[in-house]
Symmetry: C2
Subunit: 234 residues, 2 copies
């Protein structure tokens, strides 16, 4: 039979595990949202886009649940050192995932705005870019579960490729706009869709850095390489 | 002469005040960055844009300082109730301000990408929109200093006007692109500048909600009205 002390320790560990499980679940939901949003965009499936928009509420609720669990653990358990870092990292990671959910929702909203006749090859490039971002999300999920700072840093480093894909797509979309003014409105929306996916990569990078902070106690210092050169005109 | 107990209490209050002062200062820096970025855009001032880009490092450093102060206060002081909420709110507010700084930097980077001959009236509309966002930032700063949840909610409610301005500007920019293909690249960059300012409004809204959480213990529940209808094509 456990002593009182063991009982308290075990219940504290349960709370930390519960928090970890919540982070994995909200992350899985965000991956699902992004996948569905891009399928809706590809197929011009307005009903699916509406479902994605509606499902975002669940992610928002989960973030609030995580925040209140963090608050409770801090108030009642006073976690120290690596536990404290892990708890604070949960708060930040949940916030990054909630933002990823918002970007997925925005892609679904733009699907509703894009009229028939969107340039097919542009949509295919968006899909390819989004597949890459989903790969990053899956890799950072594994790094989080394994508490693996090195794997997290590899995910962070891979963001430079997503940025490169974005830069290429930005230029591709401009050419469609130049070719035919009838493409301008649809391509302006696709520019933002591409930007949303690029921003998702930045949030995955934040998550990777928070895993590193949680495991090692410091945020990685070296500036990561940036592959998005659209805003500097390169 | 203060007793030992009073001394400890006073030093804890000093730490909380210090955190509050840091939040105000990083916020002021972000306002300054946005103002300078828009001046650089308006005047095509590349040297000023470069200075804005460089100054973003200071905001990033300040966010890290705030994070480590939060960690220390949590680890050593175990704040409870309203203090705990205030400390957690600092962490989130600092993160929102850091993102606002990133958006200001991105505006400066786009200034470098925009070639001569950007549509003047479009730039003027961007400036007007950014003035509105700066007004929101100043109002939320005051609400934070005054610990005033009602004032914070008024700032949150004003975001709907910023969203409306964004929707109008989005349409305005599309018309310039349709009128003359030579405007397309510059206007695509201005679309993102406008989107950056609209996102700054969202972060100000987050800050307002965190002030409310810190003062009242709950995040505001009612869904705020959304004025940005560009992504739904309205």
């Amino acid at each position: 039979m456990p002593t009182q002390q063991e009982h308290i320790v075990s219940s504290y560990d349960d709370e930390l595990d519960r928090l970890k499980g919540e982070i994995v679940r909200i992350g899985d939901l965000a991956v699902e949202q992004l996948q569905q949003a891009v399928i809706a965009l590809k197929n011009g499936d307005r009903a699916l886009a509406e479902r994605v928009i509606k499902a975002d509420d669940r992610i928002d609720e989960m973030e609030l649940e995580i925040s209140s669990d963090v608050l409770r653990v801090l108030a009642l358990r006073h976690p120290m050192a690596s536990d404290l870092r892990g708890v604070l990292a949960s708060l930040r990671i949940a916030s990054d995932i909630e933002r990823i959910g918002d970007y997925a929702t925005n892609i679904a909203k733009r699907t509703l705005a894009i009229s028939d006749g969107a340039v097919k090859s542009a949509v295919a490039s968006v899909e390819e870019m989004s597949d890459y971002a989903i790969g990053m999300m899956r890799a950072v999920r594994q790094a989080y579960i394994d508490h693996d700072a090195e794997a997290a840093m590899r995910v962070r480093d891979s963001d430079v490729d997503l940025d490169r894909r974005y830069t290429r797509l930005f230029r591709e979309l401009l050419t469609y706009m130049l070719e035919d003014p009838r493409n301008i409105t649809n391509c302006a929306h696709l520019l933002f869709v591409a930007k949303n996916v690029e921003r998702i990569g930045d949030h995955v990078t934040n998550i990777a850095e928070n895993i590193c902070f949680s495991v090692e106690g410091t945020l990685p210092e070296e500036e990561r390489a940036k592959g998005d050169t659209t805003s500097t005109g390169a």
